[in-house]
């Protein structure tokens, strides 16, 4: 893998509190280009908060997050949103697809928001649906497909802009073992093909086994386990 040591995203000494609760307490992480990084840790340890800060969805109270050397906190809100839209992809456990739109419209949405025409956007969206083996549900709405199909559509939507970093928070948390494995295989393969890094939050080690490297979050801090391949 070329460029595997280049850092794309770096979080340094993040602190984040919600009222009385301290969610992050000096958490630092480095994400290298094209790697799949698993973020493990017990419930409530701060994994999702860390992911949201790294993706510029939340701003930390202290500490910095930089994407290719750009400090996310220094960007104006709309610039940060644009960067998220163009450079990042997201897959969550539930509820990320717009229920009123068909699956193909959902996948095309990030391209439409970036200014592409409907026809071109939907053509690319269909290619991604086919790649994830769910081209058959293109015309259906999210409420009409199975959980496993829905997550594949969500992966297609995350990948359609060819992001540099994909953030996945328990992407297979609601799926059975076989579907979970299939979604992860497809996600990891798509990321490898496009040299996207994946930040994969999970508390399941069978899921983490798809990664190249793992870190563990405990009490808002990151412990590097660094057992890479």
């Amino acid at each position: 893998m070329t460029g595997a040591t280049e850092t794309v995203l770096e979080a340094v000494e993040l602190h984040k509190s919600f009222g009385e609760t301290t969610a992050l307490h000096g958490a630092s992480v480095t994400v290298r280009a094209g790697e799949v990084l698993a973020v493990l840790g017990p419930s409530g340890s701060g994994k999702s908060t860390l992911l949201h800060c790294m993706a510029g969805i939340l701003l930390p109270d202290a500490g910095t997050v930089s994407y290719r050397g750009i400090d996310l906190a220094a960007l104006a809100g709309h610039r940060r949103s644009a960067l998220r839209r163009d450079e990042f992809g997201f897959v969550f456990q539930f509820g990320q697809l717009v229920p009123e739109l068909s699956c193909v419209e959902n996948v095309a949405l990030p391209l439409r928001l970036a200014g592409q025409r409907r026809k071109a956007a939907e053509r690319i969206a269909r290619e991604w649906l086919a790649r994830l083996d769910v081209d058959t549900v293109a015309g259906k709405r999210p409420g009409e497909v199975s959980g496993g199909q829905g997550q594949r559509v969500a992966v297609a939507r995350a990948m359609v802009t060819r992001p540099k970093v994909v953030f996945a928070d328990e992407p297979t948390g609601a799926l059975d073992s076989l579907n979970s494995e299939r979604v992860l295989e497809l996600l990891v393969a798509a990321a490898r093909d496009t040299n996207a890094a994946v930040v994969l939050v999970t508390h399941e080690t069978r899921v983490a086994a798809f990664s190249d490297r793992d870190i563990t979050v405990r009490d808002g801090k990151v412990r590097q386990t660094e057992f890479s391949r």
Partner: protein, 174 residues
């Protein structure tokens, strides 16, 4: 695992030479620790004595590998009985890992480091199996899955133990 029952099971799909049987066994069930041919031979002799297999022709030449073996009706009944009876669920209480953790706690060494080291080793093995699975055939994937679920169970226990460490340290020493 019972080698005799496994060999019988493999013979159900048709007669084979002893060497064939060994290869099929190693491929499907024991790639990491292949059977010795002597084990195959002595097992077949026993099955023969008990009437569960019969000789099904000898090819020209000599040596045991020239003989073909076939499963008998009694053999089929035997394998059916084996497949239908449950294995006794083992709770792995004699696991070395468990022993190490308890000893570490008893001796006041603390188990945190031991747990972290073990977790890293487990995850590394799980990565290796996950990689081997993509691109392997179905039989190989099944072997990997079986190992993966067991390793995962160990790790869940490790996580729980790590989360309870303070409480455990108190109790084990009493």
């Amino acid at each position: 695992m019972s080698i005799a029952n496994t060999l019988l099971g493999l013979l159900e799909s048709g007669p084979r030479h002893g060497y064939d049987l060994k290869r099929a066994y190693d491929e499907r069930f024991s790639a990491e620790r292949p059977l010795h041919y002597g084990q195959v031979y002595s097992t077949l002799q026993r099955l023969l004595r008990n009437g569960l297999v019969s000789e099904a022709g000898v090819e020209a030449g000599d040596g045991p590998e020239r003989k073909r073996y076939a499963i008998t009706d009694a053999g089929i009944t035997d394998i059916e009985k084996w497949l239908a009876s449950p294995e006794s669920p083992s709770s792995y209480l004699q696991n070395t890992l468990y022993t190490k953790v308890v000893l570490a706690l008893l001796s006041g060494r603390g188990a945190a480091e031991l747990l972290d080291t073990q977790r890293a080793a487990h995850l590394a093995k799980m990565r290796e199996l996950t990689k081997r699975k993509t691109g392997g055939d179905l039989a190989d994937a099944l072997i990997c899955d079986h190992a993966l679920f067991h390793l995962e169970a160990d790790l869940r226990w490790l996580e729980l133990t790590a989360a309870r460490l303070d409480e455990l340290t108190e109790r084990v020493r009493i």
